[in-house]
Symmetry: D2
Subunit: 289 residues, 4 copies
């Protein structure tokens, strides 16, 4: 199977490498073309522009850093739009907001192309080992054609319906995660302040009904006030804001998420925005002393 791949950042490079190793023919493009070289060594071809990649491949995947890059690759000169059309499929796996996704979708489909948004859950390591979770939405036929690629890239893929649902699912997941992080931090502080050993709390939690990888992975670091950023607090808070806005549109009252969001905002105001989102723990710990 032949695929195009646009964007060779940390994620894109790992993903396109996976495709190559699993027997796919891959034509890559990156804004800085030199980044393509390593992949060429493993058998990739190079496309000089997004348009050339789309012209050559029935199926093109993009993995870009932000909404601006996602739009540029489609709408700029020599962009995807110039060569898409009937029989062409375009899958944007970048994390973008629903508006960006809709805009790209409309442009592609109005030219006769098929579009899928497919943001992923998981970062560098799962990308390298093909263990991403893929949240696809848009053209069902294109989703089905793409399953061989998704099977290589992820441990599981979902088809979630219309364009926008991939982004929404990520917001809901991140909202729950943000509330859970606050619940966890509050518990750590309460244990310590009421004379328990918070390391015991971690051990007891890990044996119980709400044992989960995040408590296990982040708990010990949090007790050392180590918050090197896997997912920066300011991004977590932005996702909670967007999830709460989604709730507002649909008249869903979510008092716990709202309270968690205010603690994240307090953390931002105390200068913790660039640390890991687990640093909300510092806000809850804060005392006079």
């Amino acid at each position: 199977m032949e695929v195009g791949f646009l964007g060779l950042g940390i994620m894109g490079k790992a993903m396109s490498m996976n495709l190559l190793k699993n027997g796919f023919k891959v034509t890559v493009w990156n804004r800085t073309l030199s980044k393509c070289n390593e992949l060429v060594e493993f058998g990739a071809s190079i496309g000089e522009t997004p348009a050339q990649v789309v012209k050559k491949c029935k199926l093109t995947i993009a993995m870009l850093s932000d909404p601006a890059a996602a739009l540029s690759v489609v709408f700029d000169k020599d962009g995807v739009l110039e060569q898409t059309g009937s029989g062409k499929g375009y899958i944007d796996m970048s994390t973008v907001d629903p508006e960006t996704s809709s805009k790209i979708s409309q442009a592609i489909t109005s030219k006769g192309g098929a579009f899928l948004e497919a943001p992923v859950s998981g970062s560098k390591q799962p990308a390298e080992t093909g263990q991403l979770v893929i949240l696809a939405a848009g053209d069902k036929g294109l989703y089905e054609e793409s399953i061989p690629a998704f099977d290589v890239l992820g441990k599981k893929s979902f088809f979630l319906g219309q364009v926008g649902n991939g982004a929404k699912m990520k917001l809901v997941i991140n909202m729950i995660m943000g509330s859970v992080m606050n619940a966890f931090s509050e518990g750590l502080v309460l244990s310590e302040r009421s004379g328990l050993n918070p390391h015991d709390l971690l051990d007891v939690l890990d044996l119980g009904a709400i044992a989960n990888p995040m408590f296990k992975g982040k708990g010990p670091a949090m007790l050392k006030s180590n918050y090197s950023p896997a997912f920066p607090l300011k991004h977590q808070q932005k996702d909670m804001r967007l999830a709460l806005a989604l709730g507002d549109e649909n008249a869903v009252s979510m008092p716990v998420a709202a309270a968690a969001n205010e603690s994240f905002k307090k953390a931002r105001s105390m200068g913790l925005g660039d640390l890991d989102f687990s640093s909300v723990h510092e806000i809850l710990k804060m005392t006079k002393d």
Copy 2:
């Protein structure tokens, strides 16, 4: 090793049976003595009063339904207090408040006996399979002597320091669990109301950083509005109230737990107190229609 066992309710029966099957000599007592018969078939002896059990055994374990029963077994006529003393150990594994625990501890130790509070995490099934988590606090020496019994009863036991810490640890755990349940329910409602399939949400959650047994175990039932009570909402809410009171004593601000507590209170006011604590989901789902 020989142990006494007071209280043969659902939990106590399973636990004493486990001890018997693992080669312990067990002398049992229950308020309704007929409940002892089944255990006698498996080799247990009967003590006619708590005092007789304590007289016979160096180590006595109690597993009673509530604080009133826990106090009665110790302080009433023919109670534990009449025979405890130097060389005797008493372990109360019932779930009681810190005050009850302290009262029993003082009475036992003033007679020269050794005391351990050891509430457990886990219900009927883990009790039967010896998979409880044991949160012991009080006499360190008694804890160490009791390890062979704890190894049979639980998958893991903790020694948490002074009497009261076992009860506190349970409160902290249950507080986190209650907040997490609210975060989860809010996410389920948001997904459904914004056009996603909440079953997809369950699947995606189960592949991610906050995957945990509670989401997996209760999620599908919640989506069917099935809330048969494993842990009644009114008890969960009581534990949150007590945990918040513990936070108040120690000036710990816990806005997410406070918001979760208010939703549980709303659920109580809507008549859901006797259902499972996951029924807070109904409050969050509630609309005009």
Copy 3:
């Protein structure tokens, strides 16, 4: 002093009438021109288009129903923009969002005109009696020239700095008011449910440190579940959302406003959006029975 007046709805009619009665020469315009007749009887002139009014008057005031109308009167054919310019002042007293206000401001000032946003606090009755509170922002010189008119229209006017600040001030005020309404409703429910007479609560409140016109005016109606809309709940909730968004931009954590907002959202989901914002009381009162 001669002024133009655009928009003769409930508010605009009362305000232009006040100006006439206080000796101003007023040239009025309204989309449905027949609405001008009553004012002509009191001495007003008619302008056939917004442009004609601006051409004739150095100072033109607009009081329109919503952002769409505010934009249309300025930008459409025969609109304000065609005749504004150096020496002309335009004051928009409609309640609009900061973006609308900025858009109008830029258009007017780029033509050389002077602009003031001046939303008001107060509804029909204060408009009739000249008791509005005027929240002006934009051109300081124009504000000073307009003081004679503001003195007639309002009991007090404020100059708040740059364009946008008038709208922001309204949001902050409404946010506080929404939180206070929730605090009040919670207290009413608590009093009733704990065996007090909520009418006594109203009387005691009215003698104390937080006695205020809203408690006095709305309290008795709320106890009769009478929520005829002076300020619809859905608009109150929208203003809280916008105020919280303003807080988000500036990293201001506001947990009480966030909790109040979630109760208003719950009220919306229960179908109370078109009733008065005091109907959030129904949400807090809700029980099984």
Copy 4:
């Protein structure tokens, strides 16, 4: 009319002086008897013990500093209980918890005496000027007999039903006040952080629907971070805790009060407990800088 008066602290002295000035015959007692002298100059008699005062007067009023003092005056040797009985009325105007009040009530009434709890709203100045608000509950007949005294001491008195209701009413009032203070502080911070002048906010608030003495009285001081304690934050937070506990008993969900309580707790943890409760403003203002 002749009354006894027990307790001559700041409040008690002002109140008994008022009674004297308005023609009442007053017999006073205070633990430190020398404090009685000033009142003797104005015509008061001295009772050497609480029992002697009660023996002499049909009606005795107490105004003591805390529950311990309120209990001591009744139950200790030479206390009220020794001389109360049929035909004697005892009015405790101290601020105590419902349990203390009930205990005193039961003791007095079991001896045949009549009892009224009558906590007041208002501090030193209203006590001096007879402008207290009196929240009486208990014996209706005694309430009616006491009206002449209450008319001197307060601007208004309420009879609220059974013993305990006076204390409950104070809790509800203080809960609302605490939430309103948080709403106000959040608004002040939002105004300042989003480029408005918070003094303008105070002025605009004072002209609107939620204008109240507390905003007017405390607002300017809060903007100068002046929090000299009229009502210490730790007492306000205790009252919110007790009001929330009352809500818990009655299954009343109060999310705004709960959020306000958590901010007050944060303030306590930051060492602000002894300052005025308006110092919660500092918590909300707190940033990195």
